[in-house]
Symmetry: D2
Subunit: 413 residues, 4 copies
C-alpha cells in the first residue's frame, strides 16, 4: 500500500469560518493527524459576526493563542479589489471575480500565521471540484514553497451529508438546526460580492429562485425614482462618494448599500472552471458593478486611447489569471505594473444614474481630462484640427490595402 | 500653385440620403467638377422613406438610370452585423459599433455601382474630423485600388451653416424649414443603432437631454412588468424569437422593438476616435444589446473555455479593426475565420428578462451543451470526477511558483 | 486500500518502438493487467528500421493481427509539420517544436487502432516528468473521451535501471549489449528533429559534448563553400527545392540533408516544461531551420503587414498550445483557421545561403508579391506615392500624443 | 491659393550630420523661411568625426552658440537600446530595430535644445516615404505639443540629385567629389547597427553586393576558429564581457567588434513600413545579435515560464510600437513597466560561441537560476517531484477536451 499522499502535519493553520463544515474539518484534523490546530477567521465583509467563531474554536479545544480573528476588510479592498478594478477585470465577459480575489488574501494570512506560529501546514474547506482549492493552494505555495496544504474534502471519506452529521455528532460538534439538512445552495460572501451555487441552481435553464438573492433588492421592488451619485477617483481608485472621502472598505460598503438598494449587480452565469467543467453561479456584486461602470466612465476622459486599448487587450488574460488563482505570480504582477502605470491620471468624478437594476454613467469631469471640445466640436475649431490632414492619414492607412487589391486584380487577369 | 490633391473625376457615385447636406454635396460635385453624378441611397433600417430621395435626385438633374435605391437590410444584418456579434464585439468596453459596421457595406455598394456604371470616383458626406470618412475610404480603396474618393467636407469652403444655406439657395436646392437652423445634434441611424453627437452633447459632464433618445423608451417610462423572451441560435447567429423563425433583418427589427419598449441599450460614451481626439456619443442599440447578452448566454453552455477565452482576448483587437474602418482587411478576415470556427456548436436557446433598461440572461439550454451536471454536482457524481486529480493538478501548476519562492528564500539568506 | 487509479484495461494499444524500454512496457502490461496488447510502430522519420519491431513484438507473443507498423511520414509532414510552419511557430523564441508536433499524430493512430481493434486503452512510454505524457494523453482524450490511458512509468516500481534489467531478464526480453548500462542521454527523433536530453546534458552551464549531435555536421567541419538553394512555396507550404517538386516528406528529408551537411539547426536550450520545471535540451532541426527561414522570407514579400503582425502576435500562444499538448483543441484550431486564411498568397520562391551553421535568405520573388518598387524607390516614383500624405498621417497619429503632452503641461503650471 | 501647411518658423533646431544633404537643408531653411538655425549633431556611434560638422555649420553661418555637438552614446545604449533588449524585441521576426530606437533620442534632444534656445521648430532630413519622419515627429510632438516640425524633403521641390547639386552650388555649399553623383544606396548607422537600402538594393530577388556590408566581416572571411565569450547580466542588462565590467556604450562597442569580426548579425529583410509599403533593407547588427542571443540565454534559467511567455506574447506589439515611432507613448511605457518588472532576477552569465556568422548560447549559469537539476533529473530525485501528480494534472487539463469529444459523439448518434 502506497504512502499517504500528504505527510502528516504537526501543526495546521485552518481557514475557519466558525460554521459547521469548517468545525468538522477542525475536528477531523485533530483526529486524523493528531496535530495542533490554529484557526484563522477573517472579516472580509461577509456580513457575519466573528465572535461566535472564537467561541466555537475554544469549544473545540483550540488554545486562545491559536485563535486568530482579524478584520481584513481595508486590506482586502485596498490591496486586492482596487488593483483588480484598475484593470476593469471581468471573467468571461461578465463575472467580477468576487470570490477569486478574496482567496489570495486568506492564503497570505494563513501562511503568515503559519510562519508566526511555527505551523508546517495550512488547511482550507474548499472541495476538490472547484476553483477555490486551486486559488488557496497556488497562493500558499507561491508564498511559502515548503508549506503543506491540507484539503480535507479531497482526502476524507465523509462524502455525504449523513456521514458529515454522524462525524459531528460523534465528536460533540454542535449542529444548528438548520444545518442538519442540506442547504438548498452554497454561498460565499465578502465585501465585494455574494455568490450562490449548487443544488437548486444546478440547472442552467431554470431561473434562479428569488430567495437566492441576498444583498440586492429585486429590481422590480427597487425605488421608483432614479438616484444619482458621484464617485470621485484618484489615480484609478475610488476615493469619495458624493464628495465625501471614504476609506476603501467604507467606500465599497457604501456602494454596496446604494447598488443593492437599486437592484444593481445581479448576474446569472455559467462559467468555465479552471478544473475543466462548467458551473452555474448566481452573483451579486452591487458595489463592484457601480465601481466598474464608474471606473470606465472616468477612464473615458482621462485615459489615452493607446493605453486604454492595450488595457482592454490585456484584461481577459489578467482576469483569467485571477480566476485561476495566479494572483501571486510573476505574470499577474507584470500585468499589474502595466495597468498601474496607466492609472496615474485616472483622476476625476463620474456621475452615475441608478435605477431598477441598471447603473449608467451620465456625466464625467476631471482636471486631467484629455477630452478637447476645441478639437471635436462641430463648430469652428479655430484651427485646432486641420481636416485636410485626414486625407493623408487615410491614404497611407489605405496604401497596403490598395496594394493588396491591386495584387488581386493582377492575378485575376 | 500646386495641383489639386484630388484629380477631377469624370463620374461619381455619391452616398445620397436625400437630405439637405448630401443634396448640397450632389450639386457641389456637379458644379465644382462638372461631373456626372450617380446616387446611391440605401435602406439600412434608418427608418426613413427612400422615395423622397429618388424625387430629390431627379429634381437635382440625376438621370433615372443613375439613381440607385436599395433595401440592403438583410445583407447588412446577415453579412455584417451577425458576423460581428459572433465575436461579442464591443469597442472600449461598451460601444456596440453600430455606425462602424454599416460603413463597409455602403462602400462596397458604392464601388460596385461605380464599376457597373463606369464611374471613376465615389463620394460621401462624412466630415474630416470623424471616423466615418476613414471607414468609407479604407473600404473603397480595399475593394478598388484605382477608385477616387471625394470627401467634399474636407475640400470645400462651405464651412458654416450660413454658407451652406447660401449655396443651397443659389442652386435651387429645396430646404425644409427645420433644416435652416442648426440641428441641436447630429444623428446616424441604421437597423443596429442610432447615434447622436455634437452640439448640445459636447460637454461630457452634462447628462444628455431626454429628447436626444429616439428609439428607446426612457426606462422610467418603460413597462412596470418584466417581459421574458427566448432567442434561438444556430451556429452563433440568432434565428428565432419565442420560437418563431425570422430572417436576420426581421429578427433584429423585432429585437429593437422589444428592447426599445423596455428602455434597453442606451449608452452615454466618450470614446477615442481613430483620428486622435476623444468624442462623446449617445448610442441606442436596443436589439443589439439583447443580442449580445443572449449570445454570451448561449456561448456559456456551448462554447469550450479555451475557445471562449481566446475569443475574449482577440475581441478588443477585432472591435478596434471594425471601429477604425478595417473591415475589408486581411487581419479582420483572419480573426473572423478564427471566430467563425468557434461557432459551429453555438446553437440553442436563451431566455432573457427585459425590465426597465436591463436585459439579463436567466436561462439557457441546448442539445450542444457542454455543461455537465454530472461533473459539477454537489451531490454524488457517480465517479464522473475524481477529486484526487485536483491535487496533482494543483501541485504541477504550483511547481514553478514554488521554485520562484524557493529562489527568493535562497537569495535572502 | 483504495481502488487502483486506472481500472484494469482489457486490451491496450501500445506505442511501441521495438526498443528495450517499450518491450519491457509491453511485457509489463501483459503481466500486470493480463491484458491483450496491440502494438503500433510508426515510421516518423526517426531513421530506424521497423522490421525488427515486428519481430520483437512477435517474440513477445503479440499476434500478427495485433501488430501495426506504418509509415506515417507523409501524413506527419503534410498535416502536422506544415500547418505548424505556416505559423512560424517557435517556443520560447527558439525551439521548433520537433517533439511536440509528433505526439498528436501518434495518439491519433493509437486511438484509431483502438477503435478498429476493440481496445479500451492506449499506452505510451513517456515518463511522469516530461511533456510527452501530457501531449499523448490530451490528444487521446480529445479524440476519444472514453479511452483509458496507461502510463507505466507513472505506475510501476521499476524505478532504477537495475530493476528494469532484472524485469527484462526475468521475462526473457532480449537485451542488446549496449542497453545494459545507462545511456549517457536520452534521444527522441523524427523527420523534423532529434532531441537529446538528460544525464550528461543536465548541467546547463556545460557545453554539450560533440557526440550528442546526430544529424548535423559540426559547423567547423562543414563545407568551406556556401551553398545556395531555392525553396518554392505554394499557399504557405514548401513544394519544391531548386525547382524540383517534392512531396512533403521527401522535401523535408532533402532539407535535412542540406541543412545537416552545412551544420544548420543546432540549438542548446533551457526551456520551461508544462509540468512546471525547467529542462535542458539539445535540438537538431536542420531542415526545419531552413524551412522557417525560407517561409519568413517568402512571407516578407507576399504577406500583408496587418496579417503578418497579427500572426506574429498569435504565434507564441499557438506554439505554447502545441508544446503543451493542445493540438486537438478548439483554440489551436481557431488559430490555425486564422493562420491558414493568411497563407493563400504565400506563394513564390526563396533563395537561401547555407554556410557553416547559418541559413540566410538572400533573395525572394513571387507573382504574388506585394513589394512595389514603384512605391518604395528613391528614384522618381511617377506619382505612385504623394509624400505630402505623410504629413497628415503623422499629424493625426500624433494628435493623441499632443493632447497628452498638453495635459502634462497644463497640470504642471 | 491656400496658406502654407506649416507656418513659417522663427528659429529651428536641425538634426545636422554635417553631410551634404543636411547642409542643403540648413541653407534651405535659412533661405526659405529666413529663420535662425540651430544645429544638433549627435555622436550615436555612427563612426564619423563630429568636428567637421562644427566647421561646416560655422561656414554656413551658424553662430557658435547655436551649434550643439554631443556624445550621446551612453544615454543611447543605457536608456534606449538596453530597455528594448530587455524585451527581446524583433520586428517582423527578424529586425533588431537599430534605426528605430535611435530616432526618439534625437527628437528628445532636438526638443530640449529648442526649449533651451527659444526655438519654435525642429527639422530633420528624413524623406516622406520612410518611417523615420514618423519616428522623429511623433517623438517631438509627444514631448512638446506646440513644437513645429519642418520636414524639407516633403516640402521643397529639390526632387532630383541635379536640383540638389544646383541648389548647393548656388549657395556655396561645399560638395565633396564623391557626393556629386548618386550614392548606390543609402546608409544609416549608429552604435547598434548599420542599415543600407535603396537603389542597388531595391530588387529583393537579388542578393546584396558584398560592398554594401560595412561593419561585419563576410562569414567566409571570418576566423577559422570559433571564439567563446562570456557576457554577464544584471537585472536584464549586460554589464560585463569575459568578466570585465563595461559601461553600456563600451560594452556594445566591444560586442560590435567581436560580432563583426565573426561575421555575425547580417540581415537581408523585406519589411512592412508604417507608411504602408514594403521596403528592402540590409542590416548589420553584430553586437545586438550577440546581445539578443545572450539575453535569451540568461532568461532561460532565470525567468519564470509564466513571465517569459507573457513577454513573448507582448513582444511583437512592443516592437511594432518602436518601429512605428511610438517610443514616447503611454502604451510603450506600460509594456516597458511590465517587461522591466520581469527582469529583476535576470542576472547571471552566458557563454556564446561565435563562428563564421553564427552566435550560439552554449552555457549559462546564475545564482538566480530557477533550473532545478533535482526536479528534472532522470536519476532518482529524492522525492522532489511526485510523478503521480502528473496524472491528475493531465486529467483535469483534459476534462474540457473530453466533454467536447463526448458532445461530438452524442450529436453524431
Amino acid at each position: 500500500m502506497p504512502a499517504p499522499r500528504t505527510p502528516a502535519p504537526r501543526k495546521v493553520v485552518l481557514a475557519y469560518s466558525g460554521g459547521l463544515d469548517t468545525s468538522i474539518i477542525l475536528k477531523w484534523l485533530q483526529v486524523e493527524y493528531g496535530c495542533e490546530v490554529v484557526t484563522f477567521t477573517a472579516d472580509l465583509g461577509q456580513g457575519e459576526e466573528l465572535d461566535p467563531a472564537r467561541k466555537k474554536a475554544e469549544l473545540l479545544g483550540i488554545k486562545p493563542d491559536n485563535i486568530y480573528i482579524e478584520d481584513v476588510r481595508e486590506e482586502f479592498v485596498r490591496d486586492f479589489v482596487f488593483p483588480m478594478f484598475r484593470a476593469n477585470a471581468v471573467y468571461e465577459g461578465l463575472y467580477l471575480l468576487g470570490t477569486s480575489i478574496a482567496r489570495p488574501l486568506i492564503s497570505k494570512r494563513l501562511v503568515e500565521i503559519a510562519e508566526a506560529t511555527g505551523a508546517d501546514a495550512v488547511a482550507h474547506g474548499a472541495t476538490g471540484k472547484g476553483n477555490d482549492q486551486v486559488r488557496f493552494e497556488l497562493s500558499a505555495y507561491a508564498l511559502n514553497p515548503d508549506i503543506k496544504v491540507i484539503a480535507p474534502w479531497r482526502e476524507w471519506d465523509l462524502s455525504s451529508r449523513t456521514r458529515l452529521i454522524e462525524f459531528a455528532e460523534a465528536h460533540q460538534i454542535p449542529i444548528a438546526k438548520d444545518k442538519r439538512g442540506e442547504a438548498p445552495f452554497s454561498v460565499d460572501a465578502n465585501l465585494l460580492h455574494t455568490s450562490s451555487e449548487g443544488k437548486v441552481l444546478e440547472d442552467p435553464a431554470e431561473d434562479a429562485p428569488d430567495y437566492v438573492y441576498q444583498r440586492t433588492t429585486n429590481p422590480e421592488d427597487a425605488p421608483e425614482t432614479p438616484e444619482y451619485i458621484e464617485i470621485g477617483f484618484e489615480r484609478g481608485d475610488a476615493v469619495s462618494i458624493n464628495g465625501q472621502a471614504l476609506s476603501p472598505a467604507a467606500l465599497l460598503t457604501r456602494l454596496n448599500d446604494l447598488g443593492g438598494k437599486h437592484g444593481c449587480g445581479r448576474l446569472d452565469l455559467v462559467e468555465g472552471r479552471f478544473v475543466g467543467m462548467k458551473s452555474r453561479g448566481i452573483y451579486e456584486t452591487p458595489g463592484g458593478t457601480l465601481l466598474l461602470e464608474a471606473h470606465r466612465g472616468i477612464e473615458q476622459i482621462t485615459l489615452d486611447r493607446g493605453a486604454g486599448h492595450l488595457k482592454d487587450e490585456l484584461m481577459p488574460r489578467y482576469a483569467e489569471l485571477i480566476y485561476n488563482g495566479f494572483w501571486f505570480s510573476p505574470e499577474r504582477e507584470m500585468l499589474q505594473a502595466a495597468i498601474d502605470h496607466s492609472q496615474q491620471h485616472v483622476t476625476g468624478t463620474v456621475r452615475l444614474k441608478l435605477y431598477k437594476g441598471s447603473a449608467r454613467t451620465v456625466g464625467r469631469w476631471s482636471d486631467h481630462s484629455l477630452y478637447s471640445e476645441a478639437h471635436v466640436t462641430f463648430e469652428d475649431d479655430a484651427g485646432a484640427y486641420d481636416q485636410k490632414d485626414a486625407e493623408g492619414f487615410i491614404k497611407l492607412n489605405a496604401l497596403r490595402l490598395k496594394l493588396l487589391a491591386a495584387r488581386d486584380r493582377r492575378l485575376k487577369t
